[in-house]
Amino acid sequence: MRHAFIPAPVLLLLACATLAACATKEPVYIDPAPRAVEVDPDNMLDSATATVQLPVTVETNAQMVERQRLATELGLQLAQVPQARRDDYEVELEWTIKNLAGKDGTASVIVVGASEYFYYDPTLFQLDPRDPPPPPLLGGIPVVVPANGEVSGVFREDQLAEAAQDWDAISRAGVVAQNALLTQWPTRDVNGGTGGVLMTIPSAAVAALVRFDVTLQADRHMVLEYVLRVRDHGDRLAPFEKDTGRLVPPSMTAFMPPPPPAMP
């Protein structure tokens, strides 16, 4: 009787295929610049910000054709389907705050950011300078950091996906900022637009956040370090690309909310 047998070359080929399959979904860790930010209220520095860009390469002609096909399928124009789409990336933000002071302190991590269409400046949403600004896209919750100790935390993939959806809803669908930021979306589509460029944004056309501005606010001498952990469902994540011209740029246009309706 002849036994079934897998010869060595076939086995190695299978192994290589397995390796290739494993490698595609591995997370990539992207550091901000600067990698750590320090605040020291005793020296009049009670907040500091570090920025990180989601390094997505500008699409090729073939990818643009694919985006055009997607736009047609969704009933949108080409420009309304972003190059960097939320559904293509699973992003997580992990942070650690170290308290360098000898007393317990309170700190908060505040995340805002930008899509390829608009960036978020919460101060532009303040109708009156005496009002508190609307909440950030993520964070803003005070945490107690023990003296000479450290606290770590994470903004999960689903939270960042929700933040991207919030921002696209606010900036492109005209959803009221407080509603978008303080409530959870029942689906991954944006619905309930109130006069933006789009009334609804299908999940596949929700723009990814391609820039994250992470701010540390603290009442003691503290240091924040964070890292972006990204899983790419496609092949356009380029964490080592040095030429920023080859990356989808975050928008430099701040979204300005429409003025409130005039009182009769």
Partner: protein, 190 residues
């Protein structure tokens, strides 16, 4: 003189290859083989500070040229927690290896002792270790040199044996990281 020596070696090899198999050859199959092993792997030295021990596997396949020498390929890997200064925390990486290897075997009845050496490549699947200098950005492939040995026990079925193997590997491009893996395996020889 050199040609004669070479000729002598070739003749000896040919003679060995054509010798009738010894009586116990019927008890132990020789030829193509496949092997699967499971165990653990850990790192030594500087890399060991940042890479926690983890489960390890190996798939091997090749050919027994003689009862004492076989050549083949190995595909192995392990999953390890990256113990880097936070952030990030509790993140995992995979080390994948592919190598060509040779094995020398000394069989004493059902038990065999063997030594093996291999040359190949190792691949780390993430850039997690960049921050501690074990890997460098955009370079996650390294040559890999391995040596090891083990003990093999042949079952009464002439095709199957099992045993314990240990391998020591060096990855020059990963800051000369050194790993040790210990695995229990099952081997099938056709």
């Amino acid at each position: 003189m050199r040609t004669r020596a070479l000729l002598f070696v070739c003749c000896c090899a040919a003679a060995l290859a054509t010798l009738p198999r010894r009586a116990h050859a019927d008890k132990y199959a020789h030829g193509y083989y496949a092997e699967a092993g499971l165990g653990t792997g850990f790192f030594l030295g500087e890399a060991g500070k940042y890479i926690a021990p983890g489960p390890s596997f190996a798939l091997r396949s090749g050919y027994d040229l003689w009862s004492w020498l076989s050549v083949g390929g190995r595909f192995s890997g392990g999953i390890h927690e990256g113990d880097v200064p936070p952030p990030p925390e509790r993140e995992y990486l995979q080390l994948i290896e592919g190598a060509a290897e040779g094995r020398l075997t000394l069989r004493i009845r059902r038990v065999a002792l063997f030594a093996e050496g291999s040359l190949g490549f190792g691949y780390i699947t993430t850039n997690l270790l960049d921050r501690v200098g074990v890997t460098t950005p955009d370079n996650y492939l390294s040559p890999a040199f391995s040596a090891g040995g083990g003990i093999d026990y042949h079952t009464q079925n002439r095709h199957f044996s099992f045993g314990l193997t240990g391998d020591y590997s060096v990855f020059p491009s990963f800051s000369s990281a050194q790993s040790v893996s210990l695995r229990l395996y099952l081997r099938y020889t056709r």
